[in-house]
Structures are given as C-alpha cells and as structure tokens.
Amino acid sequence: MTLDAAWAVDWVRRSAATVTEHRDELVELDRQIGDGDHGENLTRGFRAVVTKLDGLDAPPATVGEVLRLVATTLMSTVGGAAGPLYGTAYLRASKSGSATELGPDGVVALLEAALDGIVTRGKAGVGEKTMVDAWTPAVAAAVEAADHGAPPSQVFAAAARGAHEGAMSTVPLVATKGRASYLGERSAGHLDPGARSSELILIAAAEAAADAD
C-alpha cells in the first residue's frame, strides 16, 4: 500500500476541515499565551489552499506538487509565525515527496523533512513549548513504526499518536521561544497552540491514509 497525490489532496482538505472545526479552541489556546491569532490565521490559510486546489485545471501529479502548493499559499496568507513555520515544513516535505507514491520510508522522509524545516526556521529545540515538541515525537514514532514494517497508514497513525503525546507534554513547560516566551513562567500550565495544530494536521494525515488503504 502506498500513498499518492490524491492522498495528499485529501490530507490538505481534511487539514482545512479540522483547523476550521478547532478554530475557536486554537484561538483560545493562543489567547492564553500568545496573541490569539493562531486559529484565525490557520483557518484562513488552509481555506486559501483549498480554493487554489479547487481552481487547478488538472489534479497535481505528485505528493510534492501538492505540498509545494500548500507551502507557498500558507506563507502568503498566514500572518504571524505560523505561516513561515508551516510553510517551510511543507516546502521541505515537498522536496522529499517528488515520487508519485510514498511507501513507509517515504512517509518517514516527509515527516523528517517537515521537522527539519520547522527547526531551521524557528530555531527551537525540544522542551521550548513549540511545534517542535509535537513533531519530534511524531517523527520518532513514525521511524519506529516503519522499522517494524508498518504500512504508510500505520506509520502516520503512529506519528499522530506521537504528536498527541508531544503536544500534551507542552502543558507544564515554560516557553522560551516565540511570543509565549514573553510570559516566562506564566506560560506554564497551557497547551501550546502550535503543538496542538500540529497534532490536528497529523491526525488528518493519518485519517486520509487510513481511507486510502
């Protein structure tokens, strides 16, 4: 079983749906420790991506093509740090997904590239209460699943579980990067909105992959 461009399009549509559905939750999380625009920005960004997908004359041929469209659109439409961070993640992932079909190793490479993009752009490490705290255990779980011979859908399912655990791990942390770091100790006790949206997007990837099975 492999994942193709149609899966990637489904992932994007599900991502748009889930961030829209959780818009108020993300706004509230960001209001607590940031500037409150994360839910609105992501909703607007993914809506723009879906609009662009709908306007294409022909469906994209590769996963990489889909992800590059997501990258450039999010960079242009999402104000705040989330635009460049997610944009770079999708951009790097798009470079790893030039093949027409992704096997388990391809999924791992895609996730590793995305994490690499986020780290490069945000210069954050694990434990700083950011998206990196969701993506790092997600990649680790994906690698382990692929090593055990899991199919792509199970690799993504493992990544989604890892992202959930990683997102929850941000609750007690004190932020040292991004807008939340201005709060210092007061940022502890809150779930990081970027880690939460990362979890939602990886759950969407796993659901789309399960449907593709």
């Binding site: 625009d37 450039t72 960079m75 242009s76 104000g79 705040g80 740090a81 635009g83 460049p84 961070l85 944009g87 770079t88 951009l91 752009r121 945000g122 991004g178 807008r179």
Partner: protein, 254 residues
C-alpha cells in the same frame, strides 16, 4: 536614477506598515543615496507580515545587481524574510543578508554605512553592531569607565589627546583619539549621549551636537581620527574630561 543608488539596499520588514515606512523615512534622511524599501503589515494593511510584500520589496531592492540587508522587527518578520529567501532565486538570495539587529537603530546604522558605498558584509556588521546600542555595558567597559571616573584628575592623556583647556570665549576645548576598531558607530554614539546627559553643559564633537546619536554617527569618524571636543556651561570642564577619557578608553571595545 537606479544606477545612482548605493550598491547595498535595505529592506525594512515590520508587522506595521506605518512602522516600516517611518523607519525608512528616518534612515533615508540620514542616507539619501541608499534605496530603502519598506515592507510592513499584511496585504490588507493589518498588523502582521506578508510573504508577498517582502518578496516584492526584495525584488526591488536587489534589482540592477544590488545587494540587500534586511532589517526586521519581531519574530515572524524574521521568519517571513527567511522563508522568502528560501524560495527565492539562489543568485538573488546569495546577495541578501537578514540582520540580527534592533529595527530602527539597525536600519539607521546600516543606511549610514551603505551610504558610504560599503559592501554587503560591512553594512550587515553595521546593523548588527547597533544591537549593542542599548544593551547594558559589558563588564570591560564598566571597568574602564569606572577606573577613569575614580581618579580626581583626567586620566593620563595618551599621545595626541589634550585635556580640557578654557578658551577666551568661555568654552572648554580638548582633543581625543578614537581607539575602537569600528569608530564612532551607533553604540559609542549612544554611550556618549547618555554619559553626557547628567552634565550641565552643551557639548560638541567636531562641531556637531554631542546630544544627538544621529549627528554623532553622521560624522563617520573612524579609528585613529582626532576628535575635537568643545563645551559650554557650568560643568563644561567635567563633561569634556569625562568624554576624552571615554573616547581614549575605546568605549570598552578595545
């Protein structure tokens, strides 16, 4: 017109259109020969940074073979700038640097340096040196300044420096040699202004008002230059003595 711009342009990326345009005005006044392109706010004029606006600004800035230094304000302005560079033509990206510098001070310092037709690395260094302008003095500088302040008379004058001398018109006059490698850039200019503030005296350096960071920077004084310091007022002598000592101590940078 295009050929008349200095070889290094500036792009000012801010969350606010007004802030970017205002900083461009301030820096432009100091450096009319430098192309300064503001890229502030979102596409609809709100607060935030726009990938498209930054991309367009960088295209303008790097046209005609120019290099560019980007000065950005808060976090995502830096991230957006770096993202634009990641997807830009590598030949263009190679001529662009994102400065780790405070927005207004970095823009002013970079513009003044670029106006002198400096190269990319020098303009970048100038912007980044401005980052120390409002930082706490390093320990070495505190020690140097403290040692000077602790003695009753001005520090033993090194060669070419002269202590305060009262002139016929009631003003006090002295000279001092710039010792620090980067000369009278933003940080020492700001140090001078803050150091002189408590003194009841009007002080000039090479004829310009020593209470103005921008005027001091505009002197473009470099290492080895002999500065002429004049002052008027009840504490003119003390102010000049302290300033000579600070200049000769290299502002803690030597």
């Amino acid at each position: 017109m295009g050929e008349q711009w200095a070889p290094v342009a500036l792009v000012l990326v801010s969350h606010s259109r007004a802030l970017a345009e205002g900083a461009a005005q301030v820096a432009g006044q100091m450096a009319p020969g430098v192309l300064i392109v503001p890229a502030g706010g979102t596409d609809d004029g709100g607060l935030g940074t726009s990938f498209d606006r930054v991309e367009a600004a960088l295209q303008d800035a790097t046209a005609a073979g120019r290099s560019a230094v980007v000065v950005a304000d808060l976090g995502s302005a830096v991230l957006t700038s770096e993202s634009v560079l990641e997807v830009a033509d590598p030949d263009v990206a190679a001529r662009v640097r994102v400065a780790d510098a405070p927005f207004v001070e970095g823009a002013v310092a970079a513009a003044v340096t670029a106006h002198g037709k400096a190269d990319l690395a020098t303009v970048l260094a100038s912007a980044q040196a401005a980052g120390a302008t409002f930082a706490v003095l390093p320990a070495s500088a505190r020690a140097a300044v403290g040692a000077v302040a602790g003695v009753a008379s001005p520090a033993p004058a090194p060669e070419a420096a002269t202590g305060p001398v009262a002139a016929d018109d009631g003003s006090v006059r002295a000279t001092a040699v710039l010792r620090n490698p980067l000369g009278l850039h933003a940080r020492p200019a700001a140090l001078i202004v803050r150091m002189l503030a408590p003194y009841d005296a009007k002080v000039q350096v090479d004829g310009v008002n020593a209470a103005s960071v921008l005027d001091l920077m505009k002197l473009g004084a470099v290492k080895g230059d002999v500065l002429t310091i004049t002052a008027q007022g009840p504490q003119a002598s003390e102010a000049v003595g302290r300033l000579v000592a600070d200049v000769e101590a290299g502002f803690g940078e030597v």
